[in-house]
Symmetry: D2
Subunit: 145 residues, 4 copies
C-alpha cells in the first residue's frame, strides 16, 4: 500500500507575525489530514464519534520541523500507516513543499470509548480497514499490542 | 533555578466534539506559556520579533498525552530550561491537572534571523538570561552547540 | 450594575502575517470573555453544558473594528448586559487599547437545549443572575421576548 | 456577475464541546473563503501582503446564525461583491447546508498600507478586478467613497 497524499495551501490564518507557519496550526492541518484519511478508509469521524462513540485521541507525537513554510506555500502531506496495534494506530507523516521536506511527524492514536475515555480494542471492521492501508514495508509490524 | 509554573483553564474553545482537549489547542496553549516565559525573563516576543528581528521557531517537539483533560479543567504548565545551545533552547514541559500529570513535552527552539529565517547564535544578553534559568540539575548541560 | 471588565494580552497566536490581530482570533478572545462572564455570575459553561445540557450559541453578532491592534498590545474588554429576553441575552462589548477604543461588538446569545439544539426559556435561576447584571441604563429593557 | 461559491466541510477542529460549529471557527472559514476569492480574481494575498504591502483588514462584520451546523456537515459559502468603495469592499455571504441557509454575513474590508496601517485607495488594477465581480443587481452601487 503506497502512502496517502493530501495537498494543502498554507493559509493566512496559519501564519504568524514572523511570517511563517505557526506550529500549532501545522498540527491543526495535520489533524485535518488524519480526519480525511479516516473518511477515505470508510470511517468518517462524525460517524465514529457521534454514532459509535469511539474516539481516536493522539497519545504520542514527535515532530521535526526542518525548513520554514511561508504564507501561500503549497504543501503535500503524505501519511503512512506504520503499525496497527490492538488499541493503537501508528502514523508517519512527511510534509513537503516545492524545495523538499519541511517537516516530519510520528503520531500514535488510541482507540477509546467516548463514554469513559478509556482505551478499547479496535472493532474488527475498523481494524480490517486500517490493516488494509498498512505500509507494505512495515506489514510485518501488525501486532496485537 | 526551579521550574517556572503557569496556570491555565481549559476553555470551551480548546475542546473538541468528543468533549476533551483538542491536541493542537494544547500546543497553542503551550506556545502561550513559552511566550509568557520569554516575557518573564525580560525578552518579550513583540520586542524580539518586531524590533530585533529575532525569531524563536520550534524545530523539534515530542509530546506524550497520558490522560485526557475535560472542558473547564484547571491545568498547571511547568517549564524547565534543560539546555542552552549556541543557537538552540531545550525546554521540558509537564502539564498537570487535579489528578496528576496529563501530558509532557520536550521542545527545541532555534534562534533565527527574521530577515532570512536562518539560524543565528543567541545574542549575549539573551543567552545570559536563558542560562540564568537553566535547571540546576542540568547546569552541566550548558554547551556551545 | 456597571460594566464588567476583562484584561487580555494580544498574543503571538492571535496575530497574522500582516502584523495585526486576526479578526477570527479577536472573536475567539471575545468568546473567552463571555465564558468568564458566565463563570463570574455563577454559571460556568462546563456545568451549563455538561451537566444541565444548556447551550448558549451566538445567534447575532455585529462588530466594528476601528483601529488595528498590534502583537503584544494590552486590551481591555468591557461587557454590558443590555437585555435579557425570554430565551436570549443581548451583550454589548467595547474593546480598548492604550489609545482608546479598538473595536465594539453587539452579540445576541440564545438559550438552547443541547438535546435538540432548539431555543428554550432561560431557567429561573439563570435568568435571575443575568437580570442582576443588567446595565442600569437599560434596566427598562428587561422584557419577556 | 453571479455569486461565487466555495464548498467546505465542517471539520472536527471547527466544532465545540456542545457538538456544533464554534462561531469564531465559522469566521476563520469565512476568512479562508475570502482568501480564495482574492486568489480567484488574480490577487492572491501572499502577493498583496508580502510584495505590495497592501492589507485588507475587516472593518465591519454583521452575522446572523439561524440554524446550527453539525460536525461533518457540508457547507456552501456563496460570496457576492456588493459594493466597491474608494478604499473599501463590501461583501455579502450566505452559508448553506443541506436544509437551507445556516448563516449570513455582511463584511466590509478596507484597503490599507501595511507600512502604517492607514487606509489607501484601491490601486487601479485591483479596483478593476473587484468591479468586474460586482454583483449585477448592485452594479449601480459602484461609487468613489
Amino acid at each position: 500500500m503506497t502512502a496517502l497524499s493530501f495537498d494543502r495551501k498554507l493559509r493566512f490564518a496559519d501564519c504568524d507575525p514572523s511570517g511563517i507557519a505557526y506550529f500549532p496550526s501545522y498540527l491543526n492541518m495535520l489533524n485535518g489530514v488524519v480526519e480525511d484519511f479516516w473518511a477515505g478508509i470508510g470511517f468518517p469521524w462524525p460517524d465514529l464519534i457521534t454514532v459509535r462513540k469511539i474516539g481516536t485521541p493522539t497519545v504520542h507525537l514527535t515532530c521535526d520541523f526542518s525548513r520554514p513554510s511561508m504564507f501561500g506555500n503549497l504543501l503535500t502531506f503524505k501519511l503512512r500507516v506504520g503499525r496497527v496495534g490492538r488499541a493503537s494506530l501508528h502514523l508517519a507523516h512527511v510534509v513537503s513543499g516545492a524545495d523538499g521536506v519541511r517537516w516530519r511527524a510520528r503520531q500514535i492514536l488510541a482507540a477509546t470509548s467516548l463514554v469513559d475515555h478509556h482505551a478499547i480494542p479496535w472493532p474488527d471492521d475498523i481494524r480490517a480497514a486500517l490493516v488494509a492501508h498498512l505500509h507494505a514495508d512495515e506489514a510485518t509490524q501488525v501486532a496485537p499490542s
